[in-house]
Symmetry: C2
Subunit: 307 residues, 2 copies
């Protein structure tokens, strides 16, 4: 079984949407990535940090899904990273209400020995220096390194971000961030510029408008499944990244054609994530639902024109 | 060969985009629909009205594409409908600078006798009463009636619009208009409400984000082709409608599966329309380019997951 190494936040989130609000609940990029990747036949481990205020039940939730948490440092007397956000009526934009870095401020990631030869590395959204440090600790060159990041790091750690971008095979980024990073409005031109920064594959996430995969001149597009209601978009991008990297790890095939499938699997899992608050929908999702919705993706996009 | 009856404006447009501006050039919904449908093996006719200021060369351009223009009334001493618009930097929004109805104000459409038994009727954007009058003149029931409309008629002629919506099989409408017409933000819910107003098929156009086809619980999605540059979006929606109705007319197959293909053909033709000002790109487009881009649409969307 292939190994997937995940780095990213494990956190508390408090979310408010037009449909309701939560107290502090389980959140964090690595949490969503790990849960999403657990739908595939892979060995996975999370590298992250929490405080000793982090409930054992949340850690148990991850180990119950066969995620190795030996790389999650628990800081005695420390407080877990906390994020709070308010979504606007269209759910496409949000205000960050609170960001408490807490134990994340001084985080030195430690990759478990058993994962220093992981086939696939998924660098979830986090300080670029932390992402770089994880790559530095690998003892064998991974078959594929996937990077997710966001505009925050472009604003406050651009040189470090450009360093790590240079070292990865795939970058996943949203449309506005791709425009900011490249200085190009056209996503085709933006992807071309980001290719030049290093990654052979550029994935541009457009939220409810789907995701684009660029590889040189080749382009693939996966729509988001049209849903009656989007309840809470938190974690959708990370769930997408987890499905993408989990599928690639399981199949151990890093061809462009296989990445198309990975994009579809990622979009499929993300379509569940937004149906309830936080990780709620993902933790009670079963395999039959996943397959049934994959069939919906096929009928949504496949057509029969002979050329 | 099957017949396609088109009603809509034939007009002068003056367009300004971030890339340049035009004088009065050939425009109008029926013009774009007719040119787009001319890429299929169909007999087509346009019902419309112009003033005697309308250049013969524009009429010749239509007849050169085998479009029957006997239903285009030329009003002696009348002035042709004129629209002028300014696109913003993102090309997704525009301001209307001038709308001169001119001969359109008193337009009484007359369907040529030879087209009163047309298999397919494409009601382009125009006053709902004009669209209704065209349907009233049909002597045999068309196999399919397609309606395109816009928010303007929702604002100023809603009862008449709801009357014509009741009578058509397919409605094509953009996302904001679907939300306005239905009062629902979710496009899945909006389509369900519009179904209840009459049309069995609802096509929601999302511009650069593609188009959705709804038929009860069935949904199909066609992306817009990612382009390096969009030059001028004018007429893209009409070109889409012309490709859709032209393909349906040629194939004479009104099944949901065939409509998927029609949506792809429409999206394909629309992707060319936006590459130059007005109808410029469409009139010098050749069959090889159309087929080559259809192949791009296939590789953009087709994947190989066995379920």
């Amino acid at each position: 079984m292939n190994k997937l190494l995940i780095v990213g936040t494990v956190a508390f989130d408090a979310i408010e949407t037009p449909f309701g609000k939560t107290d502090k609940i389980l959140g964090g990029a690595a949490t969503y990535i790990g849960i999403s990747a657990s739908f595939f036949n892979v060995k996975s481990a999370i590298v992250s940090v929490v405080g000793d205020d982090f409930p054992q039940e949340y850690l148990d939730l991850l180990t119950d899904r066969n995620i190795d948490i030996s790389g999650i440092e628990v800081v005695k007397g420390g407080k877990t990273f906390f994020w709070s956000g308010l979504y606007h009526n269209d759910l496409n934009s949000r205000d960050t209400l609170v960001t408490e870095l807490n134990v994340l401020a001084d985080f030195q990631p430690k990759v478990p020995q058993d994962y220093k030869n992981a086939e696939i590395v998924m660098l979830g959204n986090l300080h670029p220096l932390v992402q770089s440090s994880v790559l530095d600790q690998m003892e064998t060159k991974p078959k594929l390194v996937v990077l997710d990041t966001m505009n925050f790091w472009m604003d406050c750690a651009l040189p470090e971000l450009l360093d790590i971008i240079k070292r990865v095979d795939v970058i996943t980024i949203n449309d506005e961030e791709a425009r900011q990073l490249s200085g190009e409005y056209s996503l085709v031109k933006a992807a071309a510029k980001i290719h030049e920064m290093g990654p052979k594959y550029v994935v541009i996430k457009k939220g409810e408008h789907g995701a684009l995969l660029f590889h040189g001149k080749e382009i693939f597009f996966a729509p988001a499944l049209p849903l009656e209601d989007v309840f809470d978009p938190t974690g959708a991008g990370d769930t997408f990244a987890g499905g993408f990297s989990g599928y690639i790890t399981q199949s151990e095939n890093v061809s462009f054609d296989n990445m198309k499938n990975a994009i579809i699997y990622g979009s499929n899992l993300a379509s569940f994530c937004v149906e309830k608050f936080g990780t709620e929908r993902m933790v009670d999702l079963d395999e039959n639902e996943v397959v049934s919705r994959l069939k919906q993706f096929k009928s949504l996009t496949q057509f029969d024109i002979e050329l």
